[in-house]
Subunit: 449 residues, 4 copies
């Protein structure tokens, strides 16, 4: 890599509406990261979008005056060949599948959401075989490349690569931690760059063990502010309602927005059902937003990321990805929160499991900062979700119907074997086209019969 | 102890309706355990019952022709002085408190039960200061004695002694494991004595990792039988509904009846509410049973344990206690499931925590058999309940309102900080008389205001 | 196994001089362990001895009036077929190899001994491939049988099976712990059966964490007695010289005789060299003893174990083996110290490694009693020997010359890469005939050149 | 600290010959670290040297044109008051004590050296009570200050603070890691700043798990180079002789110079004895060097660090200290190897123990980078030295003669209880004036009698 003049990046799911943000990130950091070729890959169903967004990408680089070749292809292997970095932002089954992930659980009174509960499970079941397939191609075509995954559920996907392949150059990425930092910056009215959080936990279940401004801990003040019900959580599309002061004070750690699902479970289920009735599920909302975005993207005069994209959610995601790639490429040594193998960084989470943790980013990849113990109060939930993820990974790889039921039963959002089975049966049927591993043998079919 | 001719045992809560079973146990094992003095201790409110049950105990020993002195006293220190064993079966606040533990959560749609959820928490908060007080007396008056606790929540109480005192001669005891063995024996139609289970987990959350008949594993067959919805769980007062075959097969471990609360949560909540409406809560039912029992006990012609006691629930409890005491006294080396310090017996539960595990029983106390890892699927829930117990213990010892709210928020049966606070406030008020540690300072009162 | 009327046992290395003790053990425990067939297996070089000892065995059973068939064979697979237990007591390269293990290191000023240092390493390198071969046969021919290994170095051999095969029905056995118990019994002048020690450590590096008479700890008294230089160590052929009182008091654990090598290293090396000069090495002494024994065994009138065998060393070994087999067969549940997988029984030794630990013996094999932490002072040495064993196992399996040098360098008895290499080169050459794995490829040969 | 204009630093042992290097470091980094006051503290015996070196320091700052106040004092508390950083470089008993640490063991054929074996032990016993006393003062007088210790044995001293005080703002510092980096840089002929090593282990027993140039691993090449006997170890005063290629290849980690003591033990003992005979021990050599240095320092025209200081050994030490202080002060986030609490950074070393590990340096102190497992071959030795350190710390704090004997017995350089006791008795007597904790009570005296 060091001898090469320019960098080759392959983006799987390149036809995504997020791509312009990614491109903007590449433009912004071009001086540090001399991108030579950007390969946008997609599946045949996504060809039209790929072309729209690919053309916009070309216009953006051109307007920026940068000599970046944009390649559009349906041939993944061609894109992977000799890549330096591979980013994954694909969605198996597209937004229609997400809509089902959200709708079906709600019918059973269970939270419908794309990264937690039944929705997260089934998104994982559809995604994991594909990611493992990509990894297999990478081992052959670009073994030295880094895989930067921001396909959700990012924690489960990273776990799957770590436990079910020998490939180790993988990083899972999420915008939740950066969102927490920005939320705290806003709360304290300081610049984002001055805020640093000690992140430790799992993807979408990350805690802030300490928080610093200019390197000095301000945790006590932040916890005090968070005890004031007026100060609510931070990520746009999962708004919290403020914690009870006693709870947050004695938990004594920062939470992320997704913690609402577990520490305000009945309230969140109720709210999600109401919202779905009023506005449709998030997938349905996003679908409308996406249609609008692609209309904009088609405009041949557009050569920047349109501001409307920010409403889409997932802000900073692509920017975080480019920041990460740049730090790896330049061996920068800055601290970023990513999903990587634990190796003891967080006590009481298995050594080999994926965790979301503050890491020093080097050319050799992310190196977790040792966080030690997380609060006693947080250990059980984190283990429970990790167990859920591990069994979900096994289910995905083995095509085991029994394990899907087990995974969902032990998920705190379901907590019932009977209910789990009902939901699993309905969702397996709904996603049949994207879950071939569960429909191979008569035996499985019989077991479900 | 070895030089003494006879054994002195002090039973705190001696006026309990269970005492005749305990006495029956002492009579049955008299040849191995030469009981000299049985001191039944109770609080002033329990004086009448103490006398009724104490007189029955005297008649029972007399009829058996055994020279056992029965002492009835309200002076605990007198009873503890030079005791060889101390058993605890008291109930702070009596059955009225239990009725509140069961009723109040139900109003909020949360399971009301005396060892799980809010009920278990508040029973713990009332009991822990008393048990720590007993332990302090024991350190002074009978430091070589063993404390055999079967006051619920037995796991949390054992945790409190292990974490908040220096006393180590404590064993927590429960009838759930023995009930599981008897259930399996019945299922397989073999004698109980031929069945052995590898128990590992927490009190009221214990798993059977393997099961043997005559030392040969029959786990596969048992799991198969349990996959048949016809074969339901085993402990009398917490009847299960049979597991989904996929769930139990992939969990691949035996469950106890209390697992229904976590793996059939919505169903169990619904059922408990219905039962409470129809028959009253368990405390209310038990109260009627107890009244009948004490009427029987008064009969001066009664000199045996009346068969009606078995309906009371908690069968085998006292028998298990005498079996345990006898094995300690005789250094027997048989295997019994008890609550004791983990020390690595169960991987992924903290070293210093109380676990329920198969132990070899020696004069030096229970020695856990190394169980290694429990199934991945079980690890999270076990950690979550252990975290709940640990924070509850701290709350009880410190009188920390914040920690009570935290403990209940992270309990899977509540999973909401808002709901937790509401229930805590109502229960603190209801149990005020037995929770002095929470009503000491203005600051706490204000915090709750 | 339960349906079979009688038990079939195969003894690899059946021509050993120990066999009469084994036979005596079978006779003594016949009521509990209904032995039907005893297959004594040996290699062609051992045929003569096999016949001598086999004939004696037949006479012994006959005299005892027991219907046990004794089979003598050079065909291991025939012996293994449907066996219930397999015992291994073979010696690759016979006593000549042992003599080299003892002699060569002494030339370099390093302890020469058959289970520690260079001698233990090379005995392991010769033995491990054979034991793994036996295990492979067992998986095919008697997968339900238990392998009871008492071939030294028993800890390393058990480690090899646990780490380099999938076979789990293996137990390593040693007479050191039983010797310690008998030594303590003698020291305290009580019967052996009343003494119990909490054993924890590695084979030939086992500590007694506590010691009980009739279940009551007498550790303080024993440590006090051991602080008296008059009271020395216990195993016959490795006599200690008494510990410095300060050392044993602050170590606060019982040691075994082999600890002398590590806690009296210079003295032991000196003594071993002197003894070798005066009396010859142990192998040379044993060889003379064995010749005498076989002369006795030939006597057609001899039908009991001759008392002279006890001088041979390794007393109780075979008796311990039969005791273990009987407890497994009858699911007895008594406590015996054996080598088995740690699984957390001893904190700070790897989960998957072989440890020597007090176990409850069941039909399902040995179940370690949880010992928790060993003394801080002992942790390093135990880890160091375990690391030595693990690397030795890898060297044996891979035929890696580099790893042999590494293993010996980190062994505390050598502690020099240069010295290690010199000794390794000489010993590899000396044992060439029994170390084919190191003489396969040109590359290895070149590396050594 | 943030509001203060300038930084106050107190240097305990300020009269050391190293101080000019420290001053040079402060001058070099003045732009980043605005030093206002430097307090040089020493004991009455060191008053003369303190004044000589203090005057030189003043001249150096003056020549550099920097407004730094230099205070010379024998009153430690005055110096500590409101300090921002405290550095410790004192030597209890001065070089005379070191000479004894080196000489006495040699008489018994044991390595004499000031940080390993008996010498390291006794230096620790003398130093630990003083450092704990300093820490007590700091808790009162400057609780927010960081203690940067480079008094040897730095690992043991850090362990003592972590285990025997509640003070956590402590960092142990050593020049060995930086020396390894510079050695590798020289070996590869690249600039030092391009080399980064993953350090993991203990002080004076640190391994390099990987090594990078510009972020790219060059470990294989380095190991290959180190297998060439021509390429020897790197720290000036402990020259190695090159590793056997087999050893270093299969260890597969970089070693430090002090590893020679454990992996070339007989050779190093021999060489140390020879050198002591020829040139005197290191203390004796250093004493001559120091005398020369102080003659130079007295020269009122000298206003720079004289180049002769580099011969003194301990090069980069003070520079490393200033680099560390600067990174803490500026929250720099660069990577430096220091001694700090493990917290899981290195698997298989206790959580609470001091380790030497690559850390990210923040205003909140060093944050270890998670290293995971160290090579199997290294685990035992590391544990053994850590156990030695822990028991030495307890001995120092408790004044326990028994534990001194235990610590030395388990040290691999001694490995004999008898020899340990002999050496301990002689060294206790020799250092009596500086070991008051061992000469308090009759009981201890009697025990030694």
């Amino acid at each position: 890599m060091t001898e090469k003049k320019t960098v080759k990046i392959a983006t799987i799911g390149g036809g995504s509406s997020y791509t312009p943000e990614l491109v903007e990130g590449f433009i912004k950091r071009y001086q540090e990261l001399p991108l030579g070729e950007l390969w946008l890959v997609d599946v045949p169903e996504g060809k039209e979008k790929l072309e729209i967004v690919g053309d916009l990408a070309k216009r953006m680089f051109e307007k920026a005056g940068l000599p970046v070749e944009v390649h559009l292809t349906l041939n993944r292997r061609e894109a992977l060949k000799d890549a330096d970095f591979v980013t994954t932002q694909f969605r198996v089954g597209l937004l229609d599948a997400r809509a089902k992930d959200e709708r079906i659980p709600l019918k059973h009174g269970v939270l419908g959401q794309e990264t937690n509960g039944p929705g997260g499970l089934f998104k994982g079941l559809r995604t994991i075989p594909v990611i493992l397939d990509i990894v297999k191609d990478m081992e052959e075509l670009c073994p030295e490349a880094w895989l930067v995954n921001f396909t959700n559920p990012a924690g489960m996907v990273t776990e799957a690569v770590l436990r079910h392949s020998d490939f180790r150059r993988v990083v899972g990425l999420c915008n939740v931690p950066i969102g927490m930092e920005m939320g705290i910056a806003k709360l304290l009215d300081v610049e984002h760059s001055r805020v640093r959080i000690d992140f430790a936990g799992l993807n979408h279940m990350v805690y802030g063990l300490d928080v610093y401004v200019d390197g000095v801990s301000v945790k006590d003040r932040v916890i005090e502010l968070l005890s004031d019900p007026a100060n609510t959580s931070f990520v746009k599309n999962v708004q919290g309602q403020g914690w009870e002061p006693e709870f947050i004070r004695s938990l004594n750690a920062l939470t992320c927005a997704y913690h609402n699902y577990y520490y305000k479970m009945p309230e969140m289920v109720k709210k999600t059902i109401e919202t779905a009735e009023k506005e449709g599920t998030r997938a349905e909302v996003v679908k409308r937003l996406e249609d609008e975005l692609f209309e904009l993207y088609k405009d041949p005069n557009l050569a920047i990321k349109p501001p409307q994209l920010e409403k889409r959610g997932g802000a900073y995601y692509s920017d975080a990805a480019v920041r990460l790639i740049t730090s790896i490429y330049t061996d920068k040594g800055d601290i970023q929160p990513v999903n990587t193998m634990n190796k003891g960084a967080i006590a009481s989470i298995p050594y080999e499991s994926a965790v979301e943790v503050s890491c020093v980013i080097t050319k050799d990849g992310p190196r977790p900062i040792t966080m030690g113990d997380i609060p006693v109060a947080a250990r059980g939930l984190v283990q429970q979700i990790k167990s859920f993820e591990r069994i979900a990974c096994e289910a995905a790889v083995e095509g085991s119907y029994d394990k899907v039921v087990l995974a969902l039963t032990i998920n705190p959002l379901v907590a019932s074997d009977k209910l789990a089975k009902k939901i699993v049966d309905e969702m397996l049927e709904a996603h049949k086209a994207y879950l071939p591993q569960f429909f191979k043998t008569k035996k499985v079919a019989a077991a479900k019969g």
